[in-house]
Structure formats: structure tokens, C-alpha cells
Amino acid sequence: MPDISIRHRQGRFTLEAGFSVPNRWTVLFGPSGAGKTTLLRVIAGLTTPDSGRIQLGGKTVLDTDRNLSVPPGRRSIGLVSQQPALFPHLSVRQNVAFGIRHLESNRRSARVLEMLHLFGAESLADQPATQLSGGERKRVALARALAPAPQFLLLDEPLAGLDDASAQDILSRLLGLDIRVLYVSHDLAEIWRMPAEVVFLDAGRVTAIGPPQEVLASHRERLLAQLR
């Protein structure tokens, strides 16, 4: 039984996807408009699909048949979108601390610094969120998402728009994490480095699941058409 099985219509676009996330990393790959972001939002609980069932880490977080939908805050999920959405009126420290308010003050500060350190952003701790560069924002957003120690990290093209050096650095750090990652990408080059199972999404449907080489080989035509 796949971990994720949903069906959702948005206007004339239908998303119908079913797959499992057994590996540490799963890459959701496909051309733009394939429905990757929508799928991510459904998994995060930000969009409720017309029908479906989602199990994460053995726990059912969505079952439309039983009218069950666990709120996003309780799915143990961190999400970092292409636009990092840092809280502009708060400092970096306050942003990262947002999801761990339940921790006692000292432990909270320690955790904030630990997370910032994980992504090389400790020096930014007291800066207002609005004064950061693109790369810095991504780092802080990642630190914020991971602070509550979620079980899953959903990343929507997190390296898009970054310079090579920052992208490499952040990716290395991500790869060093011990957490299940669902990584959305439409960039061929970056997914080779990932120890991932690739789920190929095209026009709302899963057309292949497997290691990168296999999936990409079977979709050569499609990919070449994209590059043209």
C-alpha cells in the first residue's frame, strides 16, 4: 500500500499520484506544471485533496474516506518553499525559534544556535529577517523548519536562484542530515548527487519510480523535448 495516494482536481488539472517514501531521500521530479508543488502542499496539509490517503512514518495523516485530516502543525513536517517566507517583523533568531516555543528558554536558545550552525548561519542570529540575501534566507528557512525536529522535510526547489557555491554548500549540509526528505526538483543536474528514489511526475501523473538512472533513461525523449 503506497504511503501517498491522492487525487485532486484544480480547474482543468488533475493530480493523481500514488507512491511510497521508503528511502531517506525521495526526489519528486518533473517538468514545470506537472503538479509537484501541489503534491507537496497536499502532503504538508496546506491543501486538502478531493480524495486520498497519506501515511507518514506509519501514522495516517490524511484519509478522506474517514474524514480524517491531521492539521499541518501536527504532521511533523517542515516545509521550505522556493520563496522562504521568513517572518519579516522578526529577527533570524525569533524566526528559527517560532516553532519551538514550547521549549524552555535556555534549551530554546541552544536549539536555535544549533540549527543556525547546521546551515552556517550563526552570524546572522540577531539580524532582522528582511536584511538577508537570498542564500542567507534559505539557510534560515531551513534552520527554522528543522528546529522542531520534524520527521519529514519537504523541499520545493530549495536551491533555485542560488549561486553555485551557496547551492553546493547547502546541499552538502542537507545531505548530512538524518531525516526523511522529499525533494522537489526540475533540475537534472542536481539530482544525481542524491541518494534518492526518483518519482517522475508528469502532467499530474506518476509515470515512473526508481533510481535516477533508470527513471531518466526511460524518459529521455520527454526530457530532451524539455531541453529544446
Binding site: G45, P72, R74, A85, F87, H89, R144, A145, P148
Partner: protein, 222 residues
């Protein structure tokens, strides 16, 4: 005589503004974030007071609170005196009359907050109350200020509702605007000019205080 009217007007304006912020913030929050199918109805109803002529609004309130309706009789028995023709009656009238001036800017301000921020707040475990206090309010500060300013000045200038439901009782319901009206009716133009100046100054000072504070806190955040 002016002092009484001035104090009464200030009390009325401040009380109304505070009540409208306390009521308006949760209401506007609900309007801006709900997907309930009856949201448009609530929005329409809260906008209605703008459409009714103030004297008409005052009249219907008067009837509602009067001895001929069950509601009015119950309220009178609870209070020991009719709600109309008292300060509390004025407050009720003012709150209804200025409700749209609180809800509109507040709801617009809340709506302008980036949805992505709200979603991140949800993902990070914030409930509706925390999202309201930690995200919505700080990011729509200027809307709260605008709502406060509008409600305050709207109440200071209120006339038709106050006259109808207040009865122009000196010290109790004769506000500045009614005092001016009386003075003009009396051809006491000097007194009327003086009272008008007081009324305008009050509004101007209040607005300056509110807007200067906004400036000091820096430009409204992105």
C-alpha cells in the same frame, strides 16, 4: 457647557474605538481567513451601517431598545433604566454606526498578509490565536491604526444617531456635535465657531498622535 460636551464626546469616542477594536479584530480575522460559505453574508451585514442614514439607524435602535419590544423591555429591566437616552445607549449606537469603519480596514489589512507566512506559522504549530497575535497583528499594524483613527473621528463627528438615541440631554448625551447644532439653531454663531474649533482640534490631535506613532515605528513592514 462646552467642557461637559467635550468630555462626553471624548469618552464616547474612546469607548467606542476600544470596543470596536476588541470586537473588530477577531471578527475581521475570521472574515479574512475563513472559508465558510456564509462569509459574504457576514461581510455584507457589517457594512450595512454605512448605507443607513444615521437618523434612521438611530430610530430603529430607539425602537429596538424602547418599551414596545420584548428586547427593550428585558434590557430596561436588567439595567433599571432604558438603555436609550443614556451614555451606554450612545455607545451601543456608536459601535453599530462605526462598525464598518473598523472591520473594513482591519479585514483588508489581514488579507494583505502574505498567505505563505500564515502557512508557515501553521506548519510550525501556531494555532489561530497565536497566528493572529504573532503574525497578523504585527504585520497589519497600520490597519489597526487606520481602524482606530477612523472609528475615533467618526464617533467624534457623529450626529444623527446620537441625536435620535440620545435625546440631547445636557451632560448625559449632548455631545460636541449636537452642542454645535444647538448653537447654530440658536444663531449663536460665535459659540458655534468656538465649539467647532474644539471639535476639529480634538480630531486633529487624535489623528496626529496615531499617525506620528506609526511613523516612529518605522515604515510599514513589507
Amino acid at each position: 457647557m462646552d467642557l461637559q460636551a467635550l468630555w462626553l464626546t471624548l469618552r464616547l469616542a474612546v469607548t467606542t474605538t476600544v470596543i470596536l477594536l476588541v470586537l473588530g479584530i477577531p471578527l475581521s480575522y475570521w472574515i479574512a481567513s475563513t472559508r465558510a460559505p456564509w462569509r459574504p453574508l457576514v461581510e455584507a451585514v457589517t457594512t450595512l451601517p454605512i448605507l443607513l442614514p444615521p437618523t434612521v439607524l438611530g430610530f430603529y435602535l430607539l425602537v429596538l431598545l424602547g418599551p414596545h419590544t420584548g428586547f427593550g423591555r428585558i434590557v430596561t429591566r436588567l439595567l433599571g433604566h432604558p438603555l436609550a437616552f443614556s451614555f451606554s445607549g450612545l455607545v451601543l449606537g456608536s459601535v453599530i454606526y462605526s462598525l464598518p469603519f473598523a472591520v473594513q480596514p482591519l479585514a483588508a489589512g489581514f488579507r494583505s498578509v502574505d498567505t505563505a507566512l500564515i502557512e508557515q506559522a501553521r506548519l510550525l504549530g501556531a494555532g489561530p490565536l497565536r497566528t493572529l497575535i504573532s503574525i497578523f497583528l504585527p504585520l497589519s499594524r497600520h490597519s489597526v491604526v487606520a481602524a482606530a483613527a477612523l472609528c475615533f473621528t467618526h464617533t467624534v463627528g457623529e450626529f444623527g444617531v446620537v441625536l435620535m438615541i440620545g435625546g440631547d440631554i445636557p451632560g448625559a448625551t449632548r455631545t460636541l456635535s449636537i452642542a454645535i447644532y444647538d448653537q447654530v439653531q440658536d444663531f449663536s454663531y460665535t459659540a458655534a465657531n468656538r465649539t467647532s474649533l474644539v471639535l476639529l482640534s480634538v480630531s486633529l490631535i487624535a489623528l496626529l498622535l496615531l499617525y506620528a506613532r506609526r511613523n516612529r515605528n518605522g515604515a510599514p513592514s513589507a
